[in-house]
Symmetry: C2
Subunit: 260 residues, 2 copies
DNA sequence: ACAAAAGTGTTCGCCTTACACCCATGG
DNA sequence: CCATGGGTGTAAGGCGAACACTTTTGT
C-alpha cells in the first residue's frame, strides 16, 4: 500500500480593486512566484503540502495566510485535481479551495516581489495547470454569486446597496438595474439596515447595511452514526474486497466526468 | 516533507429498483461490508487506496467495478473529505465520487453477502463518516437533477418520457405534471425520438427516446499555458515561500466553509 | 437651482403551473 | 366500448426586466 501521491492544498483568492472612486471595481487575484523547480520563477496559486495533523480547510487558510498575509471572509472547497501529468516527475494531488477577502483586508496583504496582485484580465502565465484551475474558480464564483449572498464577503463589514451591486456588476461583467437589484437583495432578507448612512457623497447619502449571517441557505451536511444491520437478500458469490477508505464532509458542489 | 495523509477514493452509487411494473421506482445504493479493521463488519461505500499511477476518476471507476461489478453511466466528483478524526489511528483523505448506473446494469452486479443493495430509506449503519457523505451525495443528486439532464443515466439506452418522469419523481420524491414535464424535456433538446414505440402496455404505446449527448451544458474547464510576465507594482519585504503544489481539473461544484 | 445618485411605483411580457381535453391501444 | 395512460391545448398567476418618477443630498 503505497501513499499513492503527495497531497497539496492550494487556494484561488479573489478580492476587489480598492475602489477607484466611482468607477466599477474589478476582480484581483494574488499569485506567488515559485522559488523552486519545477516551474521555478512562474506565478502560481498560494498553497503548500498538507501536514498530517491539519484539516484541509485549515491548511488552506494557513498556507494562504502565510504567503499572502490574508485572512479570508469566505473559504470554500473548489475541486480536487489529481491527473497524472500535472507536475513533472512527481504525482501530486491538489485539493483546491477558493476564497473571498474584504477590500480593507488587502491593505494587510504581503507586498513583495514574489507576491503580486493581478487583474482578472491581465493574468500572467501560470505554473502547472493553475490557469485552468483559476478559470474554473472564476466560473464557480460567477455561478454562485447569482443564487447565493456571498458578494458581501468582498466588501467590508458595512456597505451600501450600490456597493453590493457594484460587486455583482464587476463579477458578472454586466450592468444591473439599480431598482430591481435593490428589491431583490431586500427581499432575500439577508441584509440588515444599520441605521447609519454613508456621508461624503456628492448626492443623497445611501443607507449602510450589514450582512445577516444567521440564515445559511446552503447548510453543511451532518454526520451521524447508528448500529449494524444484516444484509436483507443475499446471493452467493466470491468477492475480493479492496481496502475501503473512510471519508469526511463539508458542503455543496457539482462536477462531472463521463465514463462509459 | 511527509506524505501528509493516505489518499483514498470512494464512490456513492445510485441505481433504481428494477421497476415494479407500474409502481414508482425508488433509489438504491450498493454498499460493501468491511472485511478489516477499523470498522470491520460495517457497511461502507465502495472504494480503495489511490494508486500512484492512476487518475482519480479512473481509480473511482475501477474500485467500484471491482467491488460491485458495475460500470457507471455517469461518474462525477462529489467532494474531498479530510478531517482529522475520520478514521481511527490513521489520517485518511478521501476523494469521493458519485455515480449513476443503468437499470439493466444491475443484473450484472456482484451478488454477495458482502455486497448489498439498500433502499434509500432503509439504510444500515455505515462505517466512518460514510452516512454523512451519502446524505450529501443525495442532496447533490436532487439538486443537479433539477437543472441537468442526468436522469437518463439511471435508465437504459432507450426510454419513454413517462419512465424519465418516474426517475425524477422518485429522486425528487414528489409528483410531476406529465404534460408539463413532457414539454420541458422536449424543449431542452436533449431527447431524440427513436421512431419506435414501447409495446405490451395495456394502453396507447408510448414513444421511445434516446438521450442526445452531443451537447453538454456544463463543460469541463480547459487548460492552457502562455509565457511569463513581470510583477507590475512590487513592494519590498521578505517572505518565506512554502512549496507550491500543482493542481488538476474536471467539472463543476459548490462547497462552503466559513473562516473568519 | 441643478446634477446625480438613492429609492419607489408600475407596467409588460415571459415562463411556470394547473387542468381540461383528445388520442390510441388492450382487454 | 370502456379504461388507462400517452399526448396536446390553453388560460391564470407569479416573477423578473424595463423604465418613469419622486427624494435627498452636495455644489
Amino acid at each position: 500500500m503505497p501513499p499513492g501521491a503527495r497531497l497539496a492544498v492550494s487556494t484561488v483568492i479573489f478580492a476587489l480593486t480598492p475602489d477607484a472612486d466611482g468607477d466599477l471595481p474589478s476582480l484581483r487575484i494574488p499569485l506567488v512566484r515559485r522559488l523552486r523547480e519545477p516551474d521555478k520563477g512562474r506565478w502560481a496559486l498560494p498553497g503548500g503540502w498538507l501536514p498530517t495533523t491539519e484539516a484541509l480547510d485549515v491548511a488552506a487558510a494557513r498556507t494562504l495566510a502565510e504567503t499572502t498575509g490574508l485572512t479570508p471572509k469566505h473559504l470554500e472547497q473548489l475541486y480536487t485535481f489529481g491527473d497524472l501529468d500535472r507536475s513533472p516527475g512527481e504525482r501530486v494531488v491538489s485539493v483546491v479551495y477558493w476564497a473571498l477577502v474584504h477590500t480593507n483586508e488587502i491593505a494587510h496583504a504581503v507586498s513583495d516581489s514574489n507576491v503580486c496582485w493581478f487583474d482578472e484580465d491581465s493574468l500572467p502565465d501560470l505554473a502547472f495547470d493553475h490557469r485552468g484551475i483559476l478559470d474554473y474558480a472564476l466560473r464557480r464564483l460567477r455561478t454562485k454569486l447569482e443564487y447565493s449572498g456571498i458578494a458581501h464577503a468582498l466588501l467590508g463589514e458595512t456597505f451600501t446597496i450600490a456597493q453590493l451591486r457594484g460587486v455583482h456588476e464587476a463579477v458578472l461583467r454586466r450592468r444591473l438595474d439599480p431598482a430591481n437589484f435593490r428589491r431583490t437583495v431586500e427581499a432575500s432578507g439577508t441584509l440588515v439596515d444599520t441605521g447609519t448612512r454613508l456621508a461624503g457623497t456628492r448626492h443623497r447619502p445611501p443607507a449602510l447595511y450589514r450582512f445577516d449571517d444567521t440564515s445559511d441557505p446552503h447548510p453543511a451536511p451532518l454526520i451521524r452514526t447508528q448500529t449494524p444491520t444484516p444484509c436483507p437478500g443475499s446471493g452467493t458469490a466470491h468477492q475480493e474486497q479492496p481496502p475501503i477508505a473512510p471519508d469526511e464532509l463539508r458542503e455543496r458542489d457539482f462536477s462531472t466526468t463521463h465514463q462509459g
